[in-house]
């Protein structure tokens, strides 16, 4: 039995390495994808959800909520992918000869990493809600971090427009 487990571990490893090589090739062509904010807001509207819960039969509400979660997951995945692209681009900006650009890029990378983590939390919550549609999980507590990211991104953008670096418009 233990031999089977060990062999399974080794085979999983080989499959994982193959997947990593393939996804690395995809990452090379990775670009930012826009998020339709209005549609996303509608999907996230708790009042809308409560209204549906009151008005619809339980089975129909469950089906509808799961559909909404599936779409929301795609949005979160897109945001996570964008955060990953920021991390990648930030690595180049971090090496900028202008110290202020480099320092701001480091801060932006830090916050983008936190967004990536937050996306993982959001995906975990959405998975739980998908399994138990009657659940309404409490919000995460990292909102100030996102506010800070927004400010830093703006600052980095301003700094880069002052310096003639190709990455000036990056973030």
């Amino acid at each position: 039995m233990i031999t089977v487990i060990v062999i399974a571990l080794a085979l999983c490893a080989v499959v994982l390495f193959y997947t990593a090589v393939r996804s690395r090739r995809k990452q090379a062509a990775q670009s930012f994808r826009p998020v339709d904010l209005n549609a996303f807001r509608t999907l996230m509207d708790r009042d809308d959800e409560l209204f549906m819960k009151e008005k619809l039969p339980h089975s129909k509400f469950t089906r509808l909520k799961r559909q909404r979660i599936r779409v929301t997951v795609r949005y979160v995945a897109r945001i996570a992918s964008n955060a990953s692209a920021v991390l990648h681009i930030g690595e180049t900006a971090r090496l900028s000869p202008t110290p202020e650009v480099a320092s701001t890029a480091t801060q932006v990378m830090e916050l983008a990493a936190q967004i990536r983590l937050q996306c993982l939390v959001a995906l975990a919550k959405l998975s739980l809600e998908y399994a138990m549609p009657s659940l309404q999980l409490t919000p995460a507590l990292l909102v100030p971090k996102y506010q800070s990211l927004r400010e830093n991104v703006r600052r980095l953008g301003d700094l880069q427009t002052q310096t003639p670096i190709p990455l000036a418009t990056a973030i």
Binding site: A10, F17, R24, L87, Y146, R150
Partner: protein, 259 residues
């Protein structure tokens, strides 16, 4: 070196044994080439542990080649080199971990905690393997293979953890680091299969595993060479995003977690 080790122990099926031996020699030549490339690129400054690992493997192969005629001396040389090689391999995993996560302090803390949990879990699994199979280890060769199996479980598991965690966190690996992890992972995974099954199969199949293992090591050397020689991909202008887009998704996440 593993091929030669088993070659010493298994005297049957000369053709497979000879092929394995030839592949072993090709592997030594590739190691010399890799060492030359690493010297030229001064990799010891950036990746000291990986450099030590490669040079030690080359040293071990040279010693192994020199004492190949004497089975007893070769066995102890193999055992000593393999033990040090595995420790250095785990050091390389640690070096890759540091390299991947050091630019991201926000992720490093969490990743370190998960890494430690993974180490403990893998040590428990490796301990379980030793406990479950220790009854079969009737000779010193089986005991050595069992110890190697346990160590490879930890090594493969940690490399898997690195790939999984960096994928979950959306991190981009540098070209060299990715090559190092990929080559080490492939080699360790094939070695794990070989050392696990070698005690349960016939002599012919064991020689076939032996050959597969040696081919995998040469493949890893080619992977390392390829990634060492390939230039780092630069961020192209196409990848550069617009600030408004960044704002858009950032706001979207905020709203999702605040709802």
């Amino acid at each position: 070196m593993f091929a030669a080790f088993l070659g010493c122990m298994l005297s049957e099926h000369m053709s497979l044994r000879l092929v394995s031996h030839d592949v072993w020699i090709v592997g030594i030549a590739l190691q010399v080439l890799l060492a030359a490339v690493m010297l030229a690129k001064r990799t010891w400054q950036t990746y000291p542990m990986f450099t030590a690992y490669v040079f030690f493997n080359l040293f071990g192969a040279a010693i192994g080649y020199a004492v190949f005629g004497n089975k007893v001396v070769y066995f102890y040389t193999y055992f000593a080199c393999e033990s040090i090689g595995i420790v250095l391999g785990l050091g390389v995993v640690r070096e890759i971990f540091t390299n991947v996560f050091s630019p991201h302090p926000a992720l490093r803390k969490l990743a370190t905690i998960i890494f430690r949990v993974a180490v403990v879990a893998l040590i428990v699994l490796a301990g379980g393997v030793i406990y479950a199979q220790s009854g079969n280890a009737k000779s010193i060769i089986h005991a050595v293979l069992l110890a190697e199996e346990a160590a490879r479980i930890v090594e493969v598991g940690l490399i898997m953890f690195l790939f999984l965690s960096s994928s979950a966190f959306g991190l981009h690996w540098r070209q060299n680091v990715f090559g190092m992890a990929l080559g080490l992972g492939m080699f360790a995974a094939v070695n794990l299969v070989a050392v696990t099954l070698i005690g349960h199969v016939s002599s012919t199949t064991a020689q076939a595993f032996n050959l597969a293992h040696e081919v995998s090591f040469s493949t890893s050397l080619l992977i390392w060479l390829g990634y060492m020689l390939a230039p780092e991909r630069a961020t192209t202008a196409v990848e550069v995003p617009k600030r408004a887009q960044l704002e858009q998704w950032n706001q979207a996440v905020m709203e999702l977690i605040s709802r």
